[in-house]
Amino acid sequence: MEDIYRRIDTDPRFHALARARSRLGWTLSAAVLLAYFAFIFAIAFAPDWLAQPLHAGTVVTTGILAGVLVIVLCVSLTGVYIWQANRRYDGQNRAIVDDASRAP
């Protein structure tokens, strides 16, 4: 097992994969946190802005639209991550691990 870890650690593909995966994870996390805390801070500091109707002739407010948009954003970004991970990372990871296990 020690040998496998050492071989993985010296494989440049492993470091490239780890970097790419964590870049995606952190970027998407930042997007979610930004959207979510923008919503929370707007409730805390700009409630009047959220209380406006979307347009004349409707009672739906900016706040309700914003809340629904944050929910939709959260679900779609999880979809983006899954799509990337299935499409790229799983295969790359398997190749790295297989090579490290097979090497003499």
């Binding site: 870890y5 995966r21 979510y36 009672v59 929910i71 999880t78 991550y81």
Partner: protein, 546 residues
């Protein structure tokens, strides 16, 4: 016997159409009882089936690692869609309109973070509990004790909250006495967990999640149909019937000061990542890929569920608020605001839907308390007994001890629920989330992502977070003033998650950086190993031998 016949017929007729709510606000709906008995019978059958497949610790804690991503996603969503979140959030929207939406958005926002940052690594590092992942490179005894402490405190508080809520709910829905209701829930939950372990707990949770999602979908559909599928018409009707009028569409009816809003937002978003019964579910799937898929399904179901809850809350304002037949003598909603969704089921779909939704809510409570109890039992038997007190314990011994721990936790939960019958339960659930966000989450996050974290630092930070969380809640407005009856709170903030999280993170970081012991040096050196395992899954428990 001609005299008996008509009475029997009347009885049957009453069973089919009987009035749902007696004058005292108790429903005693026969359809609800029939649906509920159906649920209990089928779940007991599942438990019997699961019991024959539960032999090893891996079966008991992790369902043998055989749950698929979709199944686990449903089970995770089920854990999250407790009676408190369905009835509570729709009740908050019914009472305050827009501000109830904060809970819905906050409850969902935690999930993408779990997916991006925790789920795959957790699955690659752990075995049955999140403490496994954390104690991989840190000293097992102190770290497991801390993690078990954080888990047990969160679980017991959450259990009390759910059990007291359950007793009250069942009192209203089925007309059962509070004590009988709480004991029934406790007994069924002990049977599920003791005999069926994680397999039964997962399947009970899956069935309930499907029932709850379909029931809520049906109610939402029937409500929207009454408003020609126009949200504008629905909201207009809600504004017309709510005592606060147009303000139900605007923020500021429930929480006012900015710090409380932000702290509530923090507790909701990060509390999710620290709830032990949810973290435990990542070990029921075979590998990191399925762990990832389960969060995707869970986030989808939870997002959909909260959207429905939002419509149901506003639907209840539009169709139930202030209407004859839904109010008690004082003009309040029968059974309190938490019953808004249940009343709406009757307004939109008649007695049959009312019966179905009532039974689904009871099923929800049973499923959630079972998951909580199992995770508490695993903290006692796996984290404390098998890895701290008696490291040489056999697998059989550990499973047996888990069963005793389940019975013990069940009895404890029932007694505490009886003791706290009259207490406000909101602060206990809040405390559970706060403990999750300020003890378990920082520990897990730093152990996985920060090379410099040492045992001493983690333990110091964890204790600081726990003490701050409990201290702020006890000295804050909810307990110090409302429960203990003091004039003014020592800590004027109702939601202490921000402070507790800060205390926990800063304690862990500062003490770790100052830690110059040889053990700390070894722990930093071991990070490399843990990092590679967390990224690749090589050496992960239950992984196929590469």
């Amino acid at each position: 016997m001609p005299a008996v016949r008509p009475r029997l017929l009347v009885g049957l007729a009453a069973l089919a159409t009987g009035p749902a709510f007696a004058a005292d606000g108790v429903s005693r709906s026969p359809t609800a009882i029939l649906f509920f008995l159906g649920f209990v019978c089928s779940t007991l059958l599942i438990t019997w089936w699961a019991a024959r497949r539960t032999r090893t610790t891996r079966d008991f804690y992790a369902a043998g690692g055989n749950i698929s991503g979709l199944q686990n996603g449903l089970a995770i969503a089920g854990d999250f869609m407790s009676a408190a979140s369905f009835l509570g959030v729709s009740g908050l929207i019914f009472g305050f309109g827009f501000d109830g939406l904060i809970y819905a958005v906050g409850g969902l926002a935690g999930w993408p973070l779990v997916l991006f940052l925790l789920s795959e690594r957790l699955k690659n590092l752990g075995k049955y509990t999140f403490a496994d992942a954390v104690s991989l490179r840190l000293a097992a005894t102190p770290i497991r004790s801390l993690a078990a402490c954080g888990s047990l405190v969160a679980v017991v508080l959450y259990l009390i909250g759910q059990m007291v809520g359950a007793g009250k709910l069942i009192e209203v829905l089925f007309g059962l006495d509070y004590t009988i209701a709480v004991v029934t829930v406790g007994a069924l939950m002990i049977v599920y967990v003791c005999f069926g372990g994680m397999i039964a707990t997962t399947w009970v949770q899956i069935i309930k999640a499907v029932l709850l999602l379909s029931g809520a979908t049906l109610v939402t559909f029937l409500v929207l149909r009454q408003f020609n599928f126009s949200f504008d018409q629905l909201f207009r009707a809600a504004i017309e019937h709510h005592p606060h009028g147009i303000r139900v569409m605007q923020p500021g009816e429930m929480v006012h000061d900015p710090l409380s809003i932000i702290s509530l937002g923090v507790a909701l978003a990060f509390g999710t990542s620290g709830l032990p019964h949810i973290l435990m579910r990542f070990f029921t799937v075979p590998d990191a890929r399925e762990a990832r898929r389960s969060v995707f399904f869970a986030a989808g179901f939870i997002g959909y569920f909260y959207t429905l809850t939002f419509v149901i809350g506003f639907g209840a304002i539009a169709l139930v608020a202030g209407r004859e037949g839904f109010l008690d003598g004082a003009g309040k909603l029968l059974g309190g605001d938490n019953m808004a969704a249940i009343h709406l089921a009757r307004a939109a779909g008649g007695e049959l839907l009312l019966g179905f939704m009532s039974a689904v809510c009871f099923a929800t409570i049973l499923a959630v308390v079972s998951g909580l109890t199992l995770s508490g039992a695993s903290a006692i038997s796996h984290d404390l007994y098998a890895n701290v007190w008696r490291k040489e314990a056999s697998e059989r011994e550990v499973v047996t001890l888990s069963r005793y721990a389940t019975i013990g936790l069940g009895v404890l939960a029932v007694s505490l629920a009886l003791l706290f019958e009259t207490q406000n339960v909101a602060y206990m659930v809040l405390l559970a989330f706060t403990v999750g966000a300020s003890v378990n989450f920082p520990l897990l996050f730093l152990a996985m992502y920060w090379r410099n974290l040492t045992t001493t630092g983690a333990v110091t930070g964890g204790i600081m977070g726990l003490v701050t969380a409990i201290g702020c809640i006890v000295l804050g407005p909810t307990v110090w003033v409302e429960v203990l009856g003091n004039a003014a709170p020592v800590v004027p903030y109702k939601y202490p998650a921000v402070f507790a999280m800060l205390a926990s993170f800063s304690g862990s970081i500062v003490v770790s950086l100052l830690d110059r012991s040889p053990r700390a040096a070894q722990e930093r050196a071991d990070f490399r190993h843990q990092y590679i395992r967390s990224q690749t899954g090589v050496g992960a428990e239950g992984a196929s031998g590469h």
